[in-house]
């Protein structure tokens, strides 16, 4: 990916800030939990303990929700990055990255590419100088690794990104 627009840079900075904040909160929570456990051993009936326990519980809950929110933010940023990459025509980069994520072997990558280009088993076998049975087995393995039911869903996996970014502006306009 080439230059990062200001919005994405700002988003990155926001996740870093949120992470730092979350870490400081966790630091505080761990100290407080330690203190509460100490108080628990001393005098669990005191108002001091009850109050501190409630505050600590609130803090811990806040951290858990904060963590979920941070993960959401990071995932949204990544989805935007990916949509942008697709929109820029860097589809082959996206496919390559996805193939890596599925841990396809070099041979499976080639077959996967050819299948995405719409070649059928016989043509792929011809091109690669392999038996049709081999290509069919490779395709089956690719589908299994990708967790898709077959060729149509395999191709749809990548088209979906393009469609998503196409529909998004409409949703924005409606809301």
């Amino acid at each position: 990916m080439t230059t990062s627009p200001e919005i994405r840079t700002a988003g990155r900075r926001q996740t870093v800030a949120l992470s730092v904040f979350l870490l400081i909160q966790t630091l505080g929570a761990v100290f407080y939990v330690g203190d509460v456990i100490g108080d628990l051993r001393d005098d669990p009936a005191s108002a001091h303990f009850v109050f501190e326990a409630i505050v600590t519980t609130a803090l811990v809950l806040g951290i858990v929700f904060g963590t979920f929110a941070l993960r959401r933010t990071i995932e949204v940023l990544r989805a935007q990055d990916q949509a942008l990459a697709v929109a820029r025509g860097a589809l082959s980069d996206v496919i390559e990255a996805q193939f890596s994520a599925w841990a396809l072997t070099p041979a499976e990558r080639d077959v996967g590419y050819l299948a995405l280009k719409g070649l059928d088993v016989a043509e792929i076998a011809d091109l690669r100088g392999a038996a049709q049975g081999t290509v069919r087995a490779q395709l089956t393995r690719i589908y299994a690794k990708a967790g898709v039911s077959g060729r149509a869903q395999f191709a749809a996996f990548f088209v979906e990104d393009l469609l998503g970014s196409g529909i998004a502006p409409v949703e924005v306009a409606l809301s």
Binding site: R12, T15, V16, L18, S19, V20, L22, L23, T26, L27, A29, V30, F31, G34, D35, I37, G38, I63, V64, T67, F68, L70, R71, I74, E75, R78, G89, A90, L91, S92, D93, I95, E96, A97, S100, A101, A103, Y113
Partner: protein, 211 residues
């Protein structure tokens, strides 16, 4: 884009997110600090230990509910895969993984387990006292009130004392093991960076994928 048939260099793993990076370097700094730069049992040592505990807790929580490649499910402990990866590494033919490589994953778990042992035994040694309590105690002793010391000593059976001694022993052995693992970890990162021709340290520092 046209010409996708040419072999594009395999995509590097996604950026490490800020939580992974902050906890990683925070833990590294804390370990260096507590191993080499401060005195065991001092207020600084105990405080850094608690910070370390918070960092580890954060990373483990992140491993359960964080984004995909930070989650444990992205790098399950698999000794066989780790051995295979090390063999590949020895032959200089490693393939990139979307998260930690299998050997690196095993190292991460080993480091976390050892850290946990160090932290737990540290807590046993200090009787679970928070840094605030340690500071109070030290201030009391400094002002001539030695009762704080006596209080911790009384009511302690031989069994307790033996337990405390064992904790101290384990604390030291585990801390040394931690340093050995960290050294191996550094060697692994160096070899992996060379084999992949990619600066893995930079990726952990800035989060940007190095070209």
């Amino acid at each position: 884009m046209a010409a996708p048939r040419t072999r594009i260099p395999v995509a590097p793993p996604r950026l490490w997110d800020p939580v992974v990076r902050l906890t990683h370097w925070g833990i590294a700094a804390s370990v260096v600090l507590n191993s080499f730069l401060d005195e065991g049992g001092s207020l600084v040592h105990v405080s850094v230990g608690w910070v370390l505990m918070a960092l580890l807790v954060m990373r483990l929580v992140w491993g359960a509910i964080g984004p995909a490649e930070a989650r444990f499910s992205a790098f399950p402990p698999n000794p066989m895969a780790a051995l295979r990866h090390l063999r590949d590494l020895a032959m200089g033919q490693v393939r990139p993984y979307p998260s930690h490589n299998p050997a690196g994953a095993l190292m991460a778990y080993a480091l976390w387990a050892t850290l946990s042992v160090v932290i737990v035994t540290g807590l046993v040694m200090t009787g679970g006292a928070t840094p605030m309590q340690v500071a109070e105690e030290k201030a009391a002793v400094a002002s001539g009130d030695w009762s704080a010391l006596i209080k911790t000593g009384e009511g302690e059976s031989d069994e307790d004392r033996a337990f405390g001694k064992a904790a101290k022993e384990v604390h030291e052995v585990a801390a040394n093991l931690l340093l050995v693992l960290a050294a191996l970890h550094l060697a692994g990162v160096f070899l992996e960076s060379r084999a992949l021709r990619r600066n893995l340290v930079a990726a952990m520092l800035t989060g940007h994928r190095p070209k």
